[in-house]
């Protein structure tokens, strides 16, 4: 029983550290993406706590499937670009590892066209039954039929889960 208890503690600690790391890194990657498009990150930073609260809650309960950063033309509301960060979870994690392939992200974002006149928003795709989080509400993603998808690859790797990045441009 004592050994079992130790294993349980280890697993929950690795999971908790992984989820905090993933939430923080999603924020970081979205900020990198905003800045690479020449957009002002101030609006994002102002609601960063709300974004983090949602990410932390839904990741902890494995409800978060994908976090999206949508960049839209301010006038027409046509989607100019979208970053998708798709999550995969590891059951009973034990490997205490946390890394972000920031070089891969920056390489993918290099040459991003400047998107003056655009605005951005964060949208999440959740599994059914996800709890409400303050500051978040229902919405729908804009069409990306006119955009091309680029598979950037695995950009966040932790014992408790991984994140795959896709870019639509």
């Amino acid at each position: 029983m004592a050994i079992s208890g130790t294993q349980v503690r280890t697993s929950v600690h690795v999971a908790a550290r992984s989820y905090v790391y993933i939430a923080n890194e999603i924020n970081r990657l979205f900020l990198e993406s905003i800045q690479s498009a020449g957009l002002d990150p101030t609006a994002y930073v102002q609601i960063q706590q709300t974004i983090e609260n949602g990410l932390r809650t839904w990741i902890t309960m494995h409800y978060l499937e994908t976090a999206h950063l949508e960049i839209l033309d301010r006038g027409s509301q046509v989607v100019r670009s979208r970053i998708d960060l798709g999550l995969s979870y590891v059951d009973s994690p034990t490997e205490d590892r946390y890394s972000t392939d920031i070089d891969r992200v920056r390489q993918a974002l290099a040459g991003t066209p400047q998107m003056a006149g655009c605005e951005y928003r964060v949208v999440v795709t959740l599994k059914d039954g996800a709890p409400a989080v303050s500051g978040w509400g229902p919405t729908a993603l804009g069409s990306i039929d006119h955009l091309q998808r680029q598979d950037v690859g695995k950009v966040i790797d932790t014992g408790g889960g991984t994140v795959q990045m896709y870019r639509y441009l």
Binding site: S4, G5, Q7, V8, R9, S11, V12, H13, A15, A16, R17, Y19, V20, N53, R56, T57, T60, M61, H62, Y63, D91, S92, P131, A132, V133, S134
Partner: protein
């Protein structure tokens, strides 16, 4: 692991058991709170507070989870 919280100025503790799934632990704590403190039933975003407390406690290698005042 022990979960500490306050309701109406009174301090309470709860043992969430041996599950290693943070989602299950979160749901278990929420069920316990709604069952034992009906005054919290209408509180929005209780899950958010529980998940936040769990991550803050466990990510720092602790075993005690502090949820604070839930009133």
């Amino acid at each position: 692991m022990q979960v500490n919280y306050q309701v109406g100025g009174d301090r309470h503790t709860y043992d969430p058991g041996t599950s290693e799934d943070l989602g299950d632990i979160t749901r278990g704590i929420e069920e316990h709170l709604r069952r034992n403190h009906p005054e919290l039933a209408g509180r929005d975003h209780l899950t958010e507070k529980i998940a936040d407390g769990l991550l803050n406690g466990l990510a720092g290698d602790g075993t005690d989870i502090e949820l604070g005042d839930l009133s």
